[in-house]
């Protein structure tokens, strides 16, 4: 099939699932006539109608609640939050309502809802168009959190998320929307939730990451290669529950680990990976687990300051050097 950007792959996944299953519906602000502020839903309202691709009022609690209630009545809604920063008003609905439905009904009710949101910085959007919010959902039992790093995964994981009977928070790095392009397989191909993928084999250090961090890791690994450092890259893909076996397998092999994400460091998702390694792989580790993350700050608008807060390739290279040189 043709080469697609990650954004096009997401639109494709939504169109395919809408066409495949009449119970799939979309709801979100500006997703209809405008096709979404990033264009992820472009053309879908014309194709599937305004009831199945609903232009929502600015009411995130209601958007999440409508999706949850519709799921209780047999639909499989995909709710789009215009920016991950604006998923926070719906936090209570996602955490106290969606995440608990199966458990509190003793398994009688499923909650097949996908909560999609563009996340991440690097597009110069300031405090409210740059956030990484995965931590808030990774702590919550009953939720799944997915962050794709490339078009094939974005399409395959989104299709799986829509078909999953559990609430899934699906975070798409807006910086990857057009930058990430690649061949997307023909046919109804899905990618499994909960499975990491080793996107680069290596022997000296395991770089555990997801989303935009995968690109940083790839670029870092390429330049480290020149220094004779062989880095293995584990793309978690599903950040919660994450693939502990895959991470353990890689770190057992390399005995060194660097955890990379764009979210703030303190209690970022990397803290769980590092704590897991410190707890379960203590003897396998030949060096401290390093974390590459944002510098515990809100993301400022001014370019020089944004750059000072958000990590990148150079930080990954530095962390790997430090861990390998330990």
């Amino acid at each position: 099939m043709a080469e697609l950007t990650m954004l096009e792959a997401i639109t494709l996944a939504l169109r395919e699932e809408l066409a495949r299953d009449p119970s799939v519906v979309l709801i979100g602000e500006d997703i209809g006539r405008k096709g979404g502020v990033f264009g992820a839903t472009r053309g879908l309202q014309r194709e599937f109608g305004e009831l199945r691709v609903m232009d929502a009022a600015i009411a995130e609690v209601g958007i999440a609640g409508m999706a949850i209630g519709a799921a209780c009545a047999g639909l499989r809604p995909v709710a789009e939050f215009q920016f991950a920063d604006y998923i926070l008003p719906a936090f209570d609905q996602i955490v106290n309502e969606a995440a608990t439905l199966s458990y509190r009904s003793n398994g009688a009710y499923a909650c097949p809802v996908v909560f999609r949101a563009p996340c991440g910085a690097g597009v110069h959007g300031g405090l409210y168009h740059s956030q990484s919010v995965e931590t808030f959902f990774v702590h919550v039992p009953g939720l799944k959190v997915v962050v794709p790093s490339n078009p094939t995964d974005a399409r395959g994981l989104l299709k799986s998320a829509i078909r999953d009977d559990n609430p899934v928070v699906f975070l798409e790095h807006k910086g990857s929307y057009r930058r990430e392009r690649g061949e997307v397989p023909a046919g109804d191909v899905t990618e499994p939730l909960g499975r990491a993928r080793v996107v680069r084999e290596g022997s000296d250090v395991s770089v555990v990451t997801y989303g935009v961090g995968v690109r940083w890791a790839r670029e870092a690994a390429a330049s480290l290669e020149a220094e004779g450092v062989s880095a293995e890259i584990v793309d978690l893909r599903t950040v919660h529950p994450f693939d502990r076996e895959a991470v353990a397998r890689s770190v057992t092999k390399t005995s060194r680990a660097v955890v990379v994400h764009e979210a703030n460091k303190t209690l970022g998702a990397g803290a769980e990976v590092a704590a897991f390694l410190a707890e379960e792989l203590f003897e396998a580790l030949d060096a401290p687990v390093a974390r590459v993350a944002a510098k515990d700050s809100h993301v400022p608008y001014a370019l020089a300051q944004e750059t000072a807060i958000v990590p990148g390739v150079a930080d990954v290279v530095a962390a790997v050097r430090q861990v390998v040189g330990f």
Binding site: S23, V25, L51, R52, M54, A56, A57, A59, V61, G62, A64, G65, M66, A67, I68, G69, A70, A71, C72, A73, G74, L75, P77, D92, Q93, N96, E97, T100, L101, S102, Y103, R104, S105, N106, G107, A108, Y109, A110, C111, P141, G142, D165, N166
Partner: protein, 316 residues
Amino acid sequence: MLRDWYRTMALARAVDELMWVVGAQGKAHFILTSRGHEAAQVASAAALRPGHDYVFTYYRSMAAALQLGVTPEQIFLSVLAKKDDPFAGGRQLPNHFSIPALRLVSGSSSVATHLPHASGAGWAARVKGEDFVAVAYFGDGATAKGEFHEALTFAGIWKLPVIFFCENNGLAISVPVHLESPAPIWKKAEGYGMPGVRVDGGDPAAVHSAMAAAVAHARSGEGPTLIEAEVVRLVAHSNADDQSVYRSAAELAAAQALDPVRRVRESLLSAGVAEGSIVEWEREAKARAEAALAAAEAAPDPEASDARRHLYFGDG
């Protein structure tokens, strides 16, 4: 009809009174009550098609649940947090009604969070082209929450088949309704482009006709309705609450004077129903409640080993 409703109300009252006994005995930890709300709940639920219409109840909806087909046995299984509690397997506080076959949807304990869920179920009816309606039951205090606003906003914009049924008992635990809403609740409807109706929640006939009209309105695609039923809270908010701190004896007496069970009983008498048969129904209700409790007490407790079951749907 009024006779059947009264029998359900009497059953709800009998179960309710027994619940408090069980609570006082320490056999149940948490007690929630519908006492004073029975007429409004039974007569409104009687206007629905059980198993067809989606119903989102709240912790006070026991009388509505009985009218919709929930049994006293099931209620006591939840009160005692038993393994076979059909609502939650003992995970939830009592009276968080959930039975898929009755389209009774599990609710959390959070106030008003289920209102947008009812709007979502209404959305599903329109997407599927089916004629079920969705109902949300909630209290006066719930009307202050953003969820109330966003739920009615979506329902109003898309003319969703939803009935928002507010049971106004004048209190949110200790907070009086004038500190919860700056205006009469039924008047909020106009801001959402939907009909708003206020009814005497102690008058089952009035409640039923208001609800039947709202259901017909919704089923025929004309959209949502907000109904405010004026009711009384006859006891404390829950067994954890001491209402004497914030409610005077006079207030309580005034509420007692409006006890819907007694009011309906009197109208039955004045309608010529023989007191003997009423007393017989009441005896039956008590007997049924006691039998239900006995059955529930004999049932097994949940197993510790199942504590994490169903965290994810279909995981066991």
